[in-house]
């Protein structure tokens, strides 16, 4: 009986002993869980965010020739002397981008429709000489400036390397470029050694609309890096990307379609177009946790 009483007493004592702190803990636990849930909700909310903004900047272009074509066909000198010489990443273009980004746990999916103006230049050089009279010669130079306007639609996956206020990121994706407009400007200059002296001359440029000479669209891959700086509710961004064109930008069916250009022996090569794109901009969050649109992300 004593044993039974002792066991019962111990049980009650233990229960009481454990129940006292347990009650306090329950109270604290509720408080902690509420805070935790709130924090987790905030974090969960922060893990998903839509950002919308604008950015703009400059770009440089490079035409990559896949097949050579020439309107001038040499009959007594090698064909490659009639090939064009391209200037790479020398002519500045510009672009403005509307950025829509869905952010989730440092990863972002970003759609960035861009109005992009690009320029690239190629040149041709010809000369005619009299083998029996060195003074009889003429040099002629054609400088052809291509200006294109595209609606570039990139879809990018971006990864924020940190979650700090200054966040470096890398991004990669694909893009499609839809032609809006294009023009060509041909400047002819030369040096005449045969008309009584050394005479340099230059004509007014021939400027023609050239939308028909380019394909309606091309696509490619792009990648790059940049940084975000969180300031208040907005992110300031600076990024540099490389757009790698994968398909021909020249319309083969219209290669000789412009009589003005055909008249000077111009026929565009098949080519892809690469761009280095530098952009500066800011984006705004579309969701807020705090009151009065107070920033939720104070990092």
């Amino acid at each position: 009986m004593r044993v039974l009483l002792l066991i019962a007493l111990m049980s009650v004592s233990l229960t009481t002993a454990f129940s006292q702190p347990g009650g306090k803990r329950k109270k604290n636990r509720v408080s902690y869980m509420t805070k935790d849930r709130k924090q987790r909700e905030e974090n969960k909310f922060l893990e998903k965010q839509w950002w919308l903004g604008l950015k703009g900047g400059t770009n440089l272009s490079r035409a990559v020739v896949t097949t050579h074509f020439s309107g001038v066909s040499p009959t007594n000198y090698p064909l490659d002397q009639a090939y064009k010489e391209y200037e790479e990443f020398k002519s500045f273009g510009s672009q403005v981008t509307l950025e829509g980004t869905f952010y989730f746990r440092q990863l972002s999916l970003s759609l960035q429709p861009t109005y992009s103006r690009s320029q690239f230049v190629y040149t041709n050089h010809y000369n005619w000489r009299d083998p029996e009279n060195a003074g009889h010669s003429l040099e002629l130079h054609y400088r052809q400036l291509q200006k294109t306007e595209h609606l570039v639609i990139p879809i990018l996956v971006r990864y924020d390397l940190t979650t700090t206020r200054l966040r470096p990121f890398v991004q990669a994706g694909a893009f499609a470029a839809l032609l809006i407009n294009a023009s060509k400007e041909v400047t002819i200059s030369g040096t005449d050694y045969a008309s009584g002296g050394e005479h340099e001359f230059s004509g007014d440029p021939i400027i023609v609309g050239a939308s028909d000479l380019f394909t309606p669209a091309y696509y490619g891959l792009m990648g790059g890096a940049g940084v975000h700086y969180h300031q208040g509710n907005i992110r300031l961004s600076l990024d540099i990307s490389y757009r790698y064109g994968m398909t021909n930008i020249v319309s083969p069916a219209h290669r000789y379609g412009n009589d003005r250009l055909a008249g000077v022996g111009d026929a565009m090569d098949d080519m892809t177009l690469d761009n280095i794109v530098l952009s500066l901009g800011c984006v705004f969050p579309l969701r807020f946790l705090g009151n009065a649109y107070k920033a939720v992300d104070n990092k």
């Binding site: 001038v72 869905f102 009589d259 055909a262 008249g263």
Partner: protein, 413 residues
């Protein structure tokens, strides 16, 4: 509050789905826009200037013909510094107009005369010996590997014009001894089947423009030789002191009929017989040009070229070169008049053969001066225009423009 926070989320989820759908749609659109170069595209349309970097070289096409491999062979005159006459230059290009090879014929042979005629797998043209001025016939294989030049069996001199008549050739030449315009039927082997001479008139003044035509630097005349299908032969040349269109049956010394010009200041610049008395023609008169896409000429009477008014074209250079091609464009029997404008472009004017109505026009060549030499129909029912491009405004070089059938159809609609 709950609704306030969840509905935008749903909306944004919808946006995300839209964005995901956009990706394949965009990819498919872009793929559909990708244009790749094909050999067919390159053959259908091209424009080429054939450059020779020798400062003193001068190349002026005479005629062009399509070869069995789809390429083209161009016959041209080239300047010979040591001769009064033009030398002979042949150029072969492939179906895309890319230069393949060229031959400069020995300077013994000069003054190439078109047409460049395709007969039984070979191409033929006429030229003459520089010293004897005797007419020679040149046979050229399509790849320029085999070129044979043989004198005609009869002593014809100064070849002026030629065209194919089945497997025979109609040749106009000038006999400087007897002062005759001579029209002959010639076989490709060089034998003369029949020949008739027509008196140009008496006196040095009559002969002078003819000789100037040959030695270059002087006015060039649109000499022609041909045959009305199944009917009389004709030539466009000097007869009875006048540059005239002369019809003959090649059996009498007197012509069947003559359309007289205005001494050497007027006459026909191009003539293509359509039927027995129906012609497509062009004429010049003291510098003015007139196109006659639908004209009835009398092969058995004597008339004057000014009796046929035609459409005047002030845009053309004075006494313009005119080439006429009969062809079918967009299911319409069409006459293509090719000429050169005062702005130094090549003009193509399309007329309906049945009515003579103008269907459309097209101009080739800008920035450099251009002149027309020939226009032919190609195997793919396009047009090939051959001419002279003055590169840098000063170097005469051969140029070719290939126009596709679809583009021509748009011009005549």
């Amino acid at each position: 509050m709950h609704d306030h926070t969840t509905s935008p989320i749903k909306s944004k989820r919808g946006s995300a789905r839209t964005m995901l759908w956009l990706v394949p749609a965009l990819v498919m659109f872009c793929l559909s826009c990708v244009e790749e170069t094909t050999p067919e595209l390159e053959e259908q349309k091209f424009a080429r200037l054939y450059d020779d970097n020798r400062f003193n070289e001068s190349l002026t096409p005479v005629d062009v013909a399509q070869t069995a491999d789809g390429g083209y062979l161009v016959l041209a005159r080239r300047r010979l510094p040591e001769s009064h006459f033009a030398g002979i230059y042949l150029m072969k290009v492939n179906a895309r107009g890319e230069f393949m090879s060229a031959q400069e014929i020995d300077n013994q042979f000069v003054h190439p005369v078109g047409d460049l005629m395709a007969i039984e797998g070979n191409l033929y043209f006429f030229c003459m010996d520089e010293l004897t001025v005797q007419t020679h016939i040149a046979r050229v294989s399509e790849d320029l590997a085999d070129i044979a030049i043989t004198p005609l069996q009869a002593g014809l001199t100064y070849p002026s014009a030629a065209s194919a008549d089945g497997n025979d050739i109609v040749l106009l030449s000038y006999d400087h001894v007897e002062k005759l315009s001579v029209l002959s039927r010639v076989s490709p082997d060089g034998s003369v089947i029949t020949s008739r001479g027509f008196d140009i008139g008496v006196g040095e003044d009559v002969e002078e423009p003819i000789i100037n035509h040959f030695i270059g630097g002087g006015k060039r005349f649109p000499f022609l030789a041909g045959r009305i299908p199944g009917g009389a032969w004709f030539f466009n040349g000097f007869y009875n002191y006048t540059f005239s269109l002369v019809f003959t049956d090649l059996s009498q010394d007197q012509p069947m009929g003559v359309v007289q010009g205005q001494h050497d200041d007027g006459g026909f610049s191009a003539v293509v017989p359509i039927a027995s008395t129906k012609f497509a023609a062009a004429r010049f008169n003291f510098g003015d040009n007139f196109l006659l896409p639908n004209v009835l000429l009398t092969p058995t009477g004597i008339t004057s070229s000014v009796d046929y008014p035609g459409n005047t074209l002030p845009e053309l250079v004075p006494n313009a070169t005119v080439r006429i091609l009969r062809t079918v464009i967009d299911d319409t029997q069409t006459l293509v008049f090719a000429s050169e404008t005062r702005s130094k472009q090549i003009a193509l004017l399309f007329y309906e053969e049945a009515t003579g109505a103008l269907l459309g026009s097209h101009y080739l060549g800008f920035s450099n001066p251009f002149e027309v030499s020939a226009v032919i129909e190609t195997e793919d029912e396009g047009l090939l225009v051959c001419g002279t491009a003055y590169l840098a405004g000063r170097f005469p070089r051969i140029c070719l423009f290939k126009l596709p059938r679809e583009e021509l159809a748009e011009k005549v609609r």
